[in-house]
């Protein structure tokens, strides 16, 4: 079984490497992406048409979530699969059964400083970090940012609860059930908007057709579609960030954590 896997990996790798020779040179101004084929250039099109196509000032966001939305959907799915893989591996066979903490905690070492200094700082910082994370998600159109970055920070704020108290306090707010549901929901939102476009007889993830759904014109609908998709990405990234921390820090037992 191991050998079959190895052969598959080597064959795929060789196949991919053999295609490298056909790529344009690095930074070649005449490559299809830069110079274009004939008089049509991809990057020129993005730079000149993004504003009138989608009303999104930030070209990168438009390319990421609209023009190449298919790619980003599977990036989100990769994150989702990574998280689910970690949960599946660690939760199914936690070392030493489900009893007892992973790291025995010595109360005399802790003193009062953990509770006072780190606890109070984190208590004050966490809501501020959360509002900043939501700000990053919401302003993906205007500033660099969006679902991935905001999701990482929102997940980090929950990790901070786990660091300043213990994992139980964090799990009380964001339980295992909730983070798995939220991770699935994020991917479902992204794929669901794509499917909605498909049902309305347009291409997958072609948000322009959703103008009836958002009660706007087709251009604004693309802008809103990008935002909705970013929210889905943020859901998945938040949930998976916290799920990975919770499982790795407690070795899959979800009891005391670090």
């Amino acid at each position: 079984m191991k050998w079959i896997g190895l052969i598959a990996v080597v064959l795929t790798g060789a196949l991919l490497l053999s295609a490298v020779g056909d790529f344009p040179d690095f930074g070649d101004p005449k490559s299809p992406a830069n110079g274009g084929v004939g008089d049509f250039s991809v990057s020129q099109y993005y730079i000149t048409h993004t504003e009138q196509d989608t009303k999104v000032p930030n070209v990168v966001t438009a390319v990421l979530a609209d023009y190449r939305g298919y790619d980003t959907m599977f990036e989100t799915t990769v994150i989702f699969i990574a998280g689910i893989g970690i949960i599946a591996i660690l939760r199914s066979h936690p070392p030493g059964g489900r009893r007892g903490p992973a790291h025995p905690i010595d109360a005399t070492v802790d003193g009062d400083h953990q509770r006072i200094i780190i606890g109070i700082t984190c208590r004050i910082m966490i809501p501020i970090i959360q509002i900043f994370a939501l700000y990053v998600v919401a302003h993906g159109h205007h500033s660099p940012g969006g679902g991935f970055q905001g999701g990482v920070m929102l997940g980090a704020s929950f990790i901070l609860i786990g660091l300043s108290r213990d994992l139980q306090a964090a799990l009380a707010r964001f339980s295992e059930r909730r983070f798995i549901v939220l991770a699935c929901l994020g991917v479902a939102i992204y794929a669901g908007f794509g499917l909605l476009c498909l049902l309305l007889e347009r291409n997958f993830l072609d948000y322009g057709v959703l103008d009836g759904f958002f009660h706007t014109d087709p251009v604004m609908a693309r802008s809103h579609g990008i935002f909705a998709v970013e929210v889905g990405v943020a859901f998945t990234v938040t949930a998976i960030m916290f799920a990975i921390y919770a499982n790795l820090s407690s070795k899959g037992r979800l009891d005391e954590g670090l």
Binding site: H103, V109, I118, C122, I129, V136, S143, P144, G145, M153
Partner: protein, 107 residues
């Protein structure tokens, strides 16, 4: 005038990361390296503001700096917490361990 000054100051700040980097490489203890990485992180956050001023897009780079600072803070807290609870390097990096013949191990 102010832009030239910012570029020079930013270059000096970048050079000042070298002493911290020396600490990352030399150690001698694991936590010394973590502290030095933390110092480099703080300097990077400030450097991002420099870059924002030079490019004239401060409002954008402030977000970067703040996000970087936040993740730096969370990272150093997590590292400290890990060393505190798990103690993977217990007694190995301290000067006492070098003097003693028998290494101390955590039960």
């Amino acid at each position: 005038m102010f832009e030239t000054f910012s570029i020079i100051a930013g270059a000096i700040l970048l050079l000042l990361m070298l002493p911290a980097f020396y600490r990352v490489v030399v150690g001698p203890t694991a936590i010394d390296r973590i502290v030095a990485v933390n110092v480099i992180g703080t300097k990077t956050a400030v450097l991002l503001v420099f870059i924002g001023v030079i490019f004239g897009r401060v409002e954008m780079f402030v977000d970067f700096a703040l996000a970087y600072g936040m993740l730096n803070f969370i990272g150093s807290l997590a590292a400290a917490r890990y060393l505190h609870r798990v103690r993977p390097f217990y007694g190995k990096g301290g000067q006492l361990a070098e003097a003693e013949a028998t290494p101390t191990e955590r039960p």
